[in-house]
């Protein structure tokens, strides 16, 4: 940190925080500090499947993601970094008649919003993925506009563009406490973290049982003394994903979202053969071929160990490969190179929690993105910067506000994978 006071402090240097910081700087607010407990790409922003799609079930998400895809298309040219953007579309499939009917309704909504999504009969699947075994599939939808990216350079792109404009990013820096006075945050108490503290979310200790939660960050960090500093700020934007509830609690704010481990794996690289990202609405299976050639995918596993847990399980590999090999039998001989896990940040109604809260009045939230934070960050970061800079609340952020849970105005999104 170069200064003792900042106009805006963003907690969390994931894609949401970095996109927000970049857009703040673009609007002329460069007195911005972005903090992260770990390293860039260490959280969900570096652990997701890189899917970018507009096939959603609410008009809000469909329209937002249309804009996000447009931003992704020109990101490489604009940010001067290769993000391996590959527009092969998204193919949703289901073996259930009931989900098939729901899919018909969402495709109609998507078409009304201007998406070119097509409903497909099982017999048409072969035209898009000839290797797919369509057995049992009753309905599918395809939007050729959806895409995949490689998440890491996307994060670096925002980080570099933001720092070029004067934003500061401090990694390995934990927020120990948030100082408040008269209903406002006045400052932050920070501490340097060590690499081992961050890695503890990923690693099994010798005595760990399967369902035992890893030690909480507070437990690990309290015994590791690090250099402490205090800074002051005018405004705080909380973009810490699955870590948001624990940080909000430091100012007495209880958030209804919670972390949920989601696993993923990657195979040896193959020459390009798979066009779209394929996703099943039945078991949450999804897989795509990255521009690097690997088959990257995951599946829903429930229940998962509670809390922040980024460890890998054999159960995931068994479920994922079973479902995948059933859908594409030729993949049986392809080898898994590595698996890893990250945390979805789940809310009770499937929609994010965004915008300024009532108290502390200078705290802006951007969390609860349900595993869609990465793909939404290009557009949401821009809207957040506008919200912070102008102080105005858009219709969208009013809809996504924290108080909807108190007032019972929930916003249901059902097209969630994994």
């Amino acid at each position: 940190m170069k200064k003792a006071r900042y106009r805006v402090v963003v907690i969390g240097a994931g894609i949401m925080g970095l996109s927000t910081a970049f857009h703040l700087a673009e609007r002329g607010i460069t007195d911005v500090l972005v903090l992260d407990r770990g390293y860039l790409c260490g959280g969900a922003s570096g652990r997701n499947g890189g899917g970018v799609r507009a096939q959603f079930s609410t008009e809000t998400n469909i329209r937002l993601m249309q804009q996000s895809i447009r931003i992704c298309e020109s990101f490489a040219t604009r940010m001067k970094i290769n993000v391996w953007f590959r527009q092969g579309g998204y193919l949703f499939v289901t073996r259930s008649a009931e989900r098939g009917r729901a899919l018909e309704a969402t495709v109609k909504l998507q078409n009304d919003c201007g998406l070119p999504t097509r409903l497909l009969e099982p017999s048409e699947l072969g035209t898009i993925v000839p290797e797919l075994d369509a057995g049992g599939i009753v309905r599918a939808s395809f939007n050729a506009d959806d895409a995949v990216v490689f998440p890491w350079p996307f994060v670096w792109g925002y980080a570099r563009a933001a720092t070029d404009l004067g934003v500061e990013i401090e990694t390995y820096t934990d927020v120990l406490d948030l100082r408040t006075r008269n209903g406002r945050i006045t400052g932050l108490v920070l501490r340097r973290t060590a690499h081992d503290e961050i890695a503890s979310w990923d690693r099994l200790g010798p005595t760990d049982a399967r369902d035992e939660a890893p030690p909480s960050f507070a437990e690990v960090s309290s015994c590791t003394p690090g250099e402490r500093t205090e800074i002051e700020c005018d405004e705080v934007v909380l973009c810490a994903g699955a870590w948001s509830p624990e940080l909000a609690r430091k100012v007495g704010l209880e958030l209804p979202n919670h972390p949920h481990r989601h696993e993923i794996c990657s195979t040896e690289p193959l020459k390009p053969w798979l066009g779209p990202l394929v996703a099943s609405l039945d078991d949450g299976l999804y897989f795509s071929q990255s521009a690097r050639g690997e088959i990257v995918g995951g599946i829903g596993v429930d229940p998962v160990p509670p809390g922040i847990n980024q460890r890998s399980s054999m159960e995931f590999l068994a479920r994922y490969t079973r479902s995948l090999v059933r859908m594409v039998p030729r993949l049986a001989s392809v080898k898994v190179l590595r698996q890893w896990a990250g945390c979805y940040d789940l809310t009770p109604d499937g929609s994010p929690i965004v915008g300024r809260v009532e108290e502390p009045s200078n705290l802006v939230l951007a969390c609860g993105f349900m595993g869609h934070g990465f793909m939404m960050a290009p557009v949401v970061g821009k809207l957040l910067a506008e919200h912070v800079a102008t102080g105005e609340t858009s219709e969208l952020f009013a809809q996504w506000a924290l108080r909807r849970f108190r007032e019972g105005r929930l916003v249901r999104e059902t097209m969630i994978i994994g």
Partner: protein
């Protein structure tokens, strides 16, 4: 050693690319991995991790704090084999 000398043979990452990343402020193994993509290919770091540790030690004068978290499986495994597992065999 030339500009084109390989640092990570699986992902074609050169020594000069790692030096450039270091120059841009990436001074730990996890960040270097995510910035350059080294250790994400066939060997998953079995060949290049030591080179990275040495690279950092030479520049900072101290040993790096920790290696990357190793990702399962230890060796590549065909998906057909994994698909035969019972989905209840515990965390790895």
């Amino acid at each position: 050693m030339t500009e084109k000398s390989l640092f990570c043979r699986c992902e074609d990452v050169t020594v000069s690319e790692v030096e450039k990343a270091y120059g841009e402020g990436h001074h730990d193994i996890e960040s270097l991995k995510r910035y350059t993509g080294f250790a994400t290919g066939w060997c998953q770091g079995k060949q290049c991790l030591v080179a990275c540790a040495r690279f950092l030690a030479e520049r900072s004068g101290t040993m790096p704090e920790a290696p990357i978290t190793p990702r399962p499986p230890v060796h590549p495994v065909p998906m057909g084999l994994l698909a035969g597992l019972e989905p209840s065999e515990g965390d790895t």
